[in-house]
Amino acid sequence: MLRRISAALAVGAVVAALGATPAQADPVVPRHAIVVCQSASFYANYDSAGGPTGLKRTLEYGNKIGHTPGAHPVYNGWAASFDFGPNDWGYLRAECIGGYDSW
């Protein structure tokens, strides 16, 4: 009986801990694509007042990325994209996205 109570309390604690973190699971899964430029700068955000901001890394040809045309915005040629390496969002040049559904 005591073991059951302990287990229930432990589960409750885990649920409470998970509930305390911001939910950032992405409801819109991007289409699979790859980088088709030899190198492409990947920025954290696109500032409508000043262009791309916060260079995160440089992607290379063949890197696996995601973008859904029509769903993810493209501002002035910069496309909201997902880097399947570190699994984070950012912006890179729209012309550097290709090979949709190739993997």
Binding site: M1, L2, I5, S6, L9, G12, A13, A16, A17, G19, A20, T21, P22, A23, Q24, D26, P27, V28, A44, N45, Y46, D47, S48, A49, G50, T53, G54, T68, A71, H72, P73, A80, F82, W89
Partner: protein
């Protein structure tokens, strides 16, 4: 007797752990018309409620809550590194 004490101890531990964790209870829903500060470490800005990612607001950056609300999201103007309108999950403002 022993099991009651142990259970009480476990319960106290759980309450303490819950209180010690960074709780969303400290954050609140936005007020329409207010420029709110983001309390979450990062908050995704989306094209529509539950929609596609378009930017990220970070803790301390601001969001002007314009409304409407829909499905737990609220519409407004994202400042920070974004400077355009979008939807954010409500409930993460200081």
């Amino acid at each position: 007797m022993v099991s009651t004490r142990v259970a009480a101890g476990l319960l106290a531990g759980v309450v303490a752990a819950t209180l010690a964790a960074p709780t969303p209870a400290l954050a609140a829903n936005g007020t329409i018309g207010q420029r709110e500060t983001v309390c979450a470490s990062d908050l995704f800005v989306r094209t529509q409620p539950n929609g596609a990612w378009m930017g990220t607001l970070y803790q301390g950056q601001t969001f002007l809550v314009e409304g409407p609300r829909s499905g737990g999201y609220v519409y407004g103007f994202a400042y920070g590194y974004i400077n355009r309108r979008g939807w954010v999950q409500d409930g993460w403002f200081c």
